[in-house]
Amino acid sequence: MSHLLEVEDLSVRFETRRGKKVQSVQAVGGLSFHLDEGETLGLVGESGSGKTVSSLSLIGLIPSPPGRIERGRALFQGEDLLAMAPSRLRRLRGNSIAMVFQDPMTSLNPLLTIGRQLTEVAEIHLRMGRREARRLAAERLGEVGIPSPEARLDAYPHELSGGMRQRVGIAMALMCRPKLLLADEPTTALDVTIQAQILELLRDLQERMGMAIVLVTHDLGVVAGMADRIAVMYAGSLVETGPTEAVFRSPAHPYTRGLLGSVPRLDGDPNRALDAIEGQPPDLAHLPGGCAFAPRCPGADAECAARPPLDAIGEDRALACFHALAPREEPTR
């Protein structure tokens, strides 16, 4: 069976000019992953790892220039999103592919009422009339748990709290019942108690509608609860991917293991020092030739001067490292 979304060798480059000097940065280098209907993929990484750029480039939202998609394919229901005519992509975006952004304050238009922003989606994509669109907008607001949705249609974004605004953002994304939702750090700007509400809402909506989610996040706790599979990115490349449980139980890449070891956790030993990853995050403009993680890797050797390919290791897992860590039975603590 073919996948709902199949990304192959996606590479994105940013070129910035400062006087005569052109700086060229590979933001994403050869990213491949796939996603099935109703499935959640957690795209995990730290700042600058390329996770946001990857998700934006799928729906043609990379500012160009300076950004440029160098190569790759992204098949969505068999059609290549990267090679598609802009008009065709516009019809898909907001319709069968929708997006939820990190900051609900900046992703809503402050000058338009909530109702106007929601009905616009239905008018454009579903060719609905004003009244019908308004009815649908109220229905969607109700679905995401906004009390008295009819009245809220006339509110402006600033009249709502951060959590409520994020609910509006989700309602807007769900207007046309998308097959694929790209959620970029959807709860990062929210307090934990509100984050718990939003994550619960996403899980519940996914169960009811069977949409697939690409969840972009830096928070390993959030992916642990949400994702079926995870893809860990470092410096623009995928270093490890696999079913969430398997990767957390036994991370094969030294970076994944380091990341898991450096998270302070509520269920760990609080008196042990955290296993911090030494060194600094990579400078994308000056990446080492071989494995990008090698300068910070405790197990790096001469072999790591070459770039490790992403190879399959066991069922549905892949790894880009010459020195796979031995499988572990005990979970990381």
Binding site: E46, S47, S161, G162, G163, M164, D191, V192, T193, I194, Q195, A196, Q197, L199, E200, H218, D219, L220, G221, V222, A224, G225, T244, E245, F248, R249, G258, L259, L260, G261, S262, V263, P264, R265, L266, D267, P270, A273, L274, D275, A276, I277, E278, Q280, P281, P331
Partner: protein, 328 residues
């Protein structure tokens, strides 16, 4: 019992909002900190946790003298700090330092690291220029930065390195107490762990006391000896670290703990969450009685709508809790 190193009693900070002109109507009052009391023992860490707008950062700013308290008392080794004038504050500034959340915004981009770290020494007239320089180099070394980079400017460092510079600046005057306001929340996890480990190491080395403010409970659990949980300007629960994480008593603390996602897919999926309804109310117009009552999952267990009419006091000795349910 001997006197605690830092003693805060009934501290309040109110901001008048919206008053216009001499004869304008008095506007509303934002009760950012509304009666906060806690102790901090020398050489230990108190974690002050709560969600946005609960008043934790304002508490920090009042403590180090960046805001003037509206009322209440802050004592260090028995000396009252509230109400001190500018010059009387000055010797205390050496002993109370602060580390800020945003390492990008809290360093002057036009000063070299050397000059940033020398400035407090210069202002407090400590040492000769040569000694100051040596002190700066040893500070850089203490926070894990290369002393050869002293001439560089903040933009030449990464976020984690900048936070190290902020820590070095706080250490420059050999303070007793450092107020850390969300010092790791702007950093990536791999770097966050480095900074937490560094803060712990420095505490052991210099006998520092920390007031550690954070919204992330897992971070606080790693660094704090005691924890105080704030909600809408008040402390709702305090206890030593192990107690508060293993047997939280206040319904707010419980739901806060259950909302923290665990980086463990198996445990995370098996977990039962207490998901709070609604948002944090505005400190401009806090609810009556216990300010948590509109969101509290337990309020029906208290008889006679007391939660709506009567604010619970913070009671209970070593493990204090402000809730009508735990009073008896």
């Amino acid at each position: 019992m001997s006197e605690p190193f830092l003693q805060v009693r009934s501290l309040t900070k109110h901001f008048p909002i919206g008053k216009r002109g001499l004869f304008g109507r008095p506007g509303k009052v934002l009760r950012a900190v509304d009666g906060v009391s806690f102790d901090l023992e020398r050489g230990t860490t108190l974690g002050l946790v709560g969600e946005s707008g609960c008043g934790k950062s304002t508490t920090a700013r009042v403590l180090v003298g960046l805001h003037e308290a509206t009322s209440g008392s802050v004592k260090i080794e028995g000396h009252e700090l509230v109400g001190l004038g500018r010059s009387a504050w000055r010797p205390w500034r050496r002993r109370l330092q602060m580390i800020f959340q945003d390492p990008y915004a809290s360093l002057d981009p036009r000063q070299s690291v050397l000059s940033i770290l020398e400035e407090p020494l210069r202002i407090h007239r400590l040492g000769k220029p040569r000694d100051r320089r040596l002190r700066v180099l040893s500070l850089l070394d203490a926070v894990g930065l290369d002393p050869r980079h002293a001439q560089r400017y903040p933009h030449e460092f990464s976020g984690g390195q900048r936070q190290r510079i902020g820590i070095a600046r706080a250490l420059a005057l050999e303070p007793d107490l450092i107020v850390c306001d969300e010092p790791v929340s702007a950093l990536d996890v791999s770097i966050q762990a480095q900074i937490l480990n560094l803060l712990k190491e420095l505490q052991g080395r210099f006998g520092l006391s920390y007031l550690f403010i954070a919204h992330d409970l897992s971070v606080v659990r790693h660094i704090a000896d005691r924890v105080a949980v704030m909600y809408l300007g008040r402390i709702v629960e305090t206890a030593d670290r192990d107690t508060i994480f293993s047997s939280p008593r206040h319904p707010y603390t419980r739901s806060l703990l259950s909302a923290v996602p665990l980086p463990d897919p198996v445990a995370e999926r098996a977990r039962r969450r207490i998901v709070l309804t609604g948002d944090v109310p505005s400190p401009l117009d806090p609810p009556s009685g216990c300010t948590f009552h509109p969101r509290c999952p337990e309020r029906d267990r208290v008889e006679g709508r007391r939660c709506e009419s009567e604010a619970p006091a913070l009671l209970g000795g070593e493990h204090e809790c402000a809730c009508h349910l735990t009073e008896s």
